[in-house]
Symmetry: C2
Subunit: 272 residues, 2 copies
């Protein structure tokens, strides 16, 4: 048996291999567990009450202030704290992003019922989001703009892809998130009388001339294909961002940022 | 001699090797040449009058409409058109982004004098930008927002890094761009009475409560270190974006997008 003070030295150790396998979506789906890279991301997961099961720690790589704070909260005496050598850590860490800590946690629920939005929420919906980096960037902006939640409709990526977690800087744990089909998302929004405002290149109204106050969901489609036809109907408002240059589209995370901050401005929720 | 209709088949062909070497900044600096991936990016370079010297074409990989348009403009009879086999193209292309075309062009000038802004320009300045992807994303937004130019102050990356070109979708050729030291940039802005508005986490004014009309340069620093102290003085206005979440910063390209579109809104240059 490896005691709490004897670091795991072998990259083929079963615990190390089981954790590293969580970089694959199939393994995350099978086990209901996720992998979290980065001290800041792990701190935000803990703050949000995510059930951390294991924290692999490579002491010689732990240099940042965030890392030291994390090790105060999950100390060596904590049974979740598992020291590993650099050789074993290399198997666990993602590329060169090693910060000396990698965590395994239970995957948070993603049901729409977990959202529990306030009375007049500002939500963002992204349909068919494919790139974990874009999802993470949108979450980071949603956090900064003070949005009340994000729904991934028919997502093409796992929300808890380690790269999405990392790109979100851990805000995926603090911003309420859900995943559902487009049909279920629309039904859920309509049942709560949350106004559906979709961004389309050919939207008839300029986003700055549209009322973005009250209960609202800002809906963005994939860069390549836009939104599916499901996002239509008499209760769906289509808006556009101005495109003054040679290109005809913005990155989805850029469009989300411009819309979320304009909604903030109009709602005067800007606490600054 | 390889005739115009005999494709280059060898990855070690001197022309192929010389072009592939342009993925390294040092080689670009030495030769004054750049490498352009992607049919859309090449079309935008041609539209902007960039001096394309060679267009390597792998006919079996040319499937997109943009690619066919490009081959109408640089046809097989054009002496710049150089057919290559898939084996030779693999050496030229970047990762799996192969679209069947890679171009070599003379590097456009980056002097501040090339900017030639209109009377009351909207400019964006990014200091110490490091990631080609961020630079490309900001250029794409600057294009969409109709900004009059971008200045990279003390850049940590080559503006014409192939990944920056690609991330910009080729808008790096249509948006006026310059690179200069921070000192030269400030002097240039001041000599033209262009108002300097810097984004700082601790800026005293909210960006939505600041006048962003008239001749203006929106200045953003690096995510890690912010702006250098040079960006201060009685004529420098510091603004902030609201941060309502657990994270304390936005991605630099996100912050640029929010500021540029707010400037657009205030200036009513939104042509939609």
């Amino acid at each position: 048996m490896t005691g709490p003070r004897d670091p795991i030295a072998s990259p083929t150790n079963p615990r190390v291999r089981a954790a590293a396998a969580l970089r694959d979506r199939r393994e995350r789906d099978l086990t209901g567990r996720i992998l979290i890279d980065g001290a800041r991301e792990l701190l935000r997961a803990l703050d949000a009450g995510v059930a951390l099961e294991t924290l692999f720690v490579c002491p010689s790589l732990c240099r940042s202030a965030d890392c030291h704070e994390l090790l105060r909260r999950v100390a060596p005496v904590d049974r979740r704290h598992v020291p590993v050598t650099e050789a074993a850590f290399a198997k666990l860490a993602f590329g060169d992003r090693a910060e000396g800590v990698v965590g395994v946690a239970l995957r948070p629920g993603l049901d729409l019922t977990t959202l529990d939005p306030p009375v007049a929420p500002l939500l963002v919906v992204v349909e068919a989001v494919e790139k974990p980096g874009n999802l993470g960037a949108i979450l980071r902006t949603a956090d900064a703009a003070g949005a009340d939640g994000l729904i991934a409709a028919d997502p093409m990526t796992d929300l808890f892809n380690p790269n999405a977690i990392r790109a979100s800087l851990g805000t995926i744990f603090s911003v309420p998130v859900a995943a559902a089909t487009t049909a279920a998302t629309l039904a859920w929004l309509r049942s709560r009388a949350i106004r559906v405002v979709v961004a389309r290149v050919d939207g008839p109204e300029l986003y700055t001339e549209t009322d973005l106050s009250g209960p609202i969901a800002l809906v963005l489609g994939s860069e390549a294909d836009g939104l599916t036809p499901a996002w239509s109907g008499p209760d769906v408002q289509a808006i556009r961002l101005p495109m003054n240059g040679v290109a005809d589209s913005l990155n989805v995370s850029t469009a989300a940022a411009v819309l979320l901050y304009e909604a903030c401005r109009q709602r005067s929720t800007v606490r600054g």
